[in-house]
């Protein structure tokens, strides 16, 4: 049986792991290779690196970091942040990434996702969707996509966007709730479920996990295929193994 995946996420800036709360208040959380080795030993199913200070100048630093990590751990690596063109994807894959996450560039140029999926295969292309709950004229709640680390609204309905990206060939949607991110109050379950039920691609729930019960909720009520977590692992509140044992006790299929 296919296991649900537990994915520690490492936000990186200038080759270091950092952690922010609701996309601000960045603090240093250590060396990427050390963190990768620690998570590998704990049995993480995959690692996700997001370059939150992605700029043209810092690209080489990111490629070196990915190569360094890929030499030390033998597990799937997803890398994102500032991916704008085919050459960026090529460079990341050559550095050692298995999957590349596209965010802002997808919004500005949706065809880029189609082109990337055709060229590198759906399983290589992840589209990151940063969604925020909005209410309009007293109608039902819905979610809207934001770009630039959650600062700019786009007016695009997040569930419809995820569906379009899946249709364009994205193999996975990395779905982050901007409302929940950093709060430790749990994933946005209605959002996660709405996307998971709407698309054939895999859904990774992200943003807001504060305890192991939240993880279980994301995978059961939220119907996610994988859960992403950062601070609860970085700061040693839980190990991956503890998380998996907890989920296994709840009857959720995980790789122990």
């Amino acid at each position: 049986m296919l296991s649900k995946r537990i994915i520690p996420c490492l936000d990186v800036a200038h080759g270091r792991v950092v952690k922010g709360v609701q996309f601000v208040d960045i603090i240093d959380a250590g060396d990427p290779v050390e963190a990768a080795i620690r998570y590998d030993e704990q049995g993480a199913d995959e690692l996700c690196f997001l370059d939150i200070r992605a700029s043209h100048e810092s690209r080489d630093t990111l490629y070196h970091m990915v190569t360094d990590v890929a030499e030390h751990v033998f597990m799937p690596l997803t890398v994102g942040g500032g991916v704008k063109e085919i050459a960026d994807i090529e460079n990341l894959l050559h550095a050692g990434a298995d999957k590349v996450s596209i965010n802002t560039a997808a919004i500005f140029n949706p065809e880029f996702v189609k082109e990337a999926a055709e060229r590198f295969g759906s399983s290589t292309i992840v589209v990151a969707v940063d969604a925020k709950r909005v209410q309009k004229n007293g109608t039902d709640d819905h979610w809207e996509c934001f770009t630039h680390g959650g600062r700019k609204p786009t007016g695009i309905n997040a569930v419809e966007w995820a569906k379009r990206m899946s249709d364009y060939g994205a193999g996975e949607i990395l779905l982050t709730s901007m409302d929940c991110d950093g709060t430790k109050n749990g994933y946005d379950i209605p959002l996660t479920r709405a996307v998971a039920e709407a698309i054939p691609a895999n859904v990774i729930a992200s943003g807001g996990v504060g305890n192991l019960e939240h993880m279980a909720e994301g995978l059961t009520d939220g119907k996610a295929d994988a859960v992403l977590a950062a601070s609860i692992f970085h700061f040693g509140e839980y190990t991956i193994a503890e998380a998996k044992n907890y989920l296994a006790d709840k009857g959720i299929p995980v790789r122990i």
Binding site: M1, L2, S3, K4, R5, D40, G43, D45, T67, A70, E71, V73, F74, M75, P76, L93, H94, A95, G96, D98, F120, G121, S122, S123, G171, E172, A196, E197, I199, P200, A201, N202, D225, A226, R255
Partner: protein
């Protein structure tokens, strides 16, 4: 000293598999031409990209014929993901294309995805490899008993002869060949170089295997 030839057909990153083979105790050479296969003790064909492109690149470089020749001479071969699929006769990925025909069979797409049943395409993540009870497990696959391995694929191998299926995996309610082989050749659908300890144990077993 003879080396493991890692076939580089120019489609992607050889880094992870090369490092993993080295860590498993091998001496690795990247091979791009048939001549480079002359002094080899083992062949590994990793898998990235589409079947069509891989088959075309192997044909154009002459590597396809050289690999077949070496396999016929008894050189141990490990095909990973696409490197497994290309062992078969043909594939239906983006039209009908010929493979190396080391094992008779075809590569087929998974049936359409059913998100409501938790069955999605690509099949991506950690899943089982199961072995027929009462049958000796292939020496290369022995370390994988009760282990999960990492899969990423939308197509699967359907060998004609069930004897060539060495292990199976079930996705949704859909079982497929997770490992195939005969004589000195083994192919696996999952990625040992991404399967942490279980994958490393498989690579070590392949390096020790004397068919």
């Amino acid at each position: 000293m003879k080396t493991i030839s890692l076939i580089d057909y120019g489609m992607g990153n050889m880094h992870s598999i090369a490092k993993a083979l080295e860590q498993a105790g091998g001496k690795v050479q990247l091979v791009k031409t048939p001549e480079e296969l002359d002094n080899t003790s083992r062949i590994v064909l990793p898998g990235v990209g589409a079947f069509r492109d891989c088959a075309a690149a192997l044909k154009a470089s002459g590597l396809g014929d050289a690999i077949k020749e070496k396999c016929a001479e008894g050189t141990p071969y490990l095909g990973i993901c696409l490197g497994m699929q290309v062992m078969l006769t043909s594939s239906r990925e983006f039209g009908l294309h010929s493979g190396l025909n080391l094992i008779r069979g075809t590569v087929k797409p998974f049936p359409e995805s059913h998100p409501e049943r938790g069955y999605k395409i690509p099949h991506m993540g950690w899943n089982d490899i199961l072995f027929a009870s009462g049958k000796e497990i292939h020496p290369v696959l022995k370390p994988l008993q009760k282990q999960q391995v990492y899969y990423v694929h939308s197509y699967y191998c359907a060998p004609e002869n069930p004897e060539h299926i060495l292990g199976v995996c079930s996705y949704g309610e859909f079982p497929f060949a997770s490992a195939i082989g005969r004589d000195n050749m083994v192919g696996v659908q999952f990625h040992p170089e991404k399967s942490q300890r279980a994958g490393m144990a498989l690579l070590e077993a392949f390096l020790k295997w004397n068919p």
